[in-house]
Subunit: 297 residues, 2 copies
Amino acid sequence: MPQIINGRNIANEIQDDLRADISEWLKTNKRNPSLVAVLVGDDPASIKYVEKKMEAAKYVGIDSKIEKLPDTISESELISKINHLNEDVSVDGILVQLPVPEHISERNVCNAVNPIKDVDGFHFSNAGKLCLNMDTFVPCTVLAVIELLKRTGVETFAKNIVVCGRSKHIGLPLSILLHSDARNQLPGLEATVTMCHRNTPPEQLRVFTKLADIVISATGVVHLIKEDMVKQGACVVDIGMTRTKTQEGKVKLVGDVDFENVKNVAEYITPVPGGVGPVTVAMLMKNTFKAAKIHLS
Amino acid sequence: MPQIINGRNIANEIQDDLRADISEWLKTNKRNPSLVAVLVGDDPASIKYVEKKMEAAKYVGIDSKIEKLPDTISESELISKINHLNEDVSVDGILVQLPVPEHISERNVCNAVNPIKDVDGFHFSNAGKLCLNMDTFVPCTVLAVIELLKRTGVETFAKNIVVCGRSKHIGLPLSILLHSDARNQLPGLEATVTMCHRNTPPEQLRVFTKLADIVISATGVVHLIKEDMVKQGACVVDIGMTRTKTQEGKVKLVGDVDFENVKNVAEYITPVPGGVGPVTVAMLMKNTFKAAKIHLS
């Protein structure tokens, strides 16, 4: 039987620890850490994700608010809102909930956030620091995967890892930390990493996943990873979160991994929902506390 | 018989084209592009490399000079020298010849160069832009490998590539460009890339190199890549440059690839010397011209 990694429990542990740390920190600091989520438009999924972040913030002792903006806002208006938050000394962390409407460049928006308030780690200068294993804000999903591997005791040193998906916010920065040197300010995990993506031929993807001790998928392709692609005893981490509808019309989150079958061969596996997702939110809280400590030190 | 990729010829072609471009550009610009190489200490290899760069600069029409500094210089003195060059409007490109003496942090020095004069592409913000496929200064060796592949007509789309060596100046940025999306400001090469390094077990390295259509090695481990590790018909690119001595006491450059044997199986192979090295120098010249165009536009 595989060990199903319980992301909710791990997230709760992290948030309990963080709540205690923030409470301790408040004995010598005048205000709580603070987080602003910028939400453009009214996409139901985005609203739900932002609300989950706000709930977690409240629990750990982070002041948070949502800056709601209409989806008709122009890129320059949005960036000017961000600049206002950049200059506001009462704000420690800023996140812009993605995606933004199509007429706005996601990249320009990510680069507009002050790097020392960039709790999502999406600014190009923070991406560069991660690349060089300098201390920085690491994207929350990347931190979540690493935390899950560590807390589960899955060895990465000299192991083979396949990362499926080369997104700039997840797959790419994750692959860099997985293969880089542990002897760094921001330590790497010393694995041999193969980056697969939409142009990796399916039969080649299978060759690489079969060689992998750890398979990590972040593609949004439902059930891309099947039982016969996974080595017996491997660890499988599912970052996919595709919103589908059940026959009854209910929204259901589905991952990249064919969980019901892959669990027959995997030694460790994360479910969707309840795997990487909750831990990602917890890591956002850690990043916000880190930002507050920088600003108020 | 393999095609031995002639880096010197390719470098000459690039430099001839660049010489013509700069000559054309000078019709509407008042001064030549300019490059300063900062050389700390008197390591014979470093002196030789810098001199080659100066020769190439002279040929293509770039004004260049060497700023020689004693190896007793402190980090802060060196950074203050770099700041002086950052502010000098007559300087377009600045490179600090590496390695620097051990008492100086290479990372701090690379981060001290003004990003818009950073023709080596080593500043963290330029690393971040590369990561995100934004237009930036790409490290010259990375540009050289991509140029060699393109000019030789080696297909990378959906191919398997192994990169050996995860250095921040070569292996890492190269791997990112090799696997990223072609539809970008800074286009990627769409390959599936496996990053191998000092902690990849030798038998696993062999598994991955045998699967590779292209093997690229940048480790400094003499003859790491042997004939039985390479697939028939593969392309092998050798970035290694280890200085050894012959029995007669002469300095000899030796690569990471056991060239004499690997050429029996490879379809394309770069020699050392005369492969990637000369093209790297040519790409430095291109980066310097790019910097000049930014500053004088």
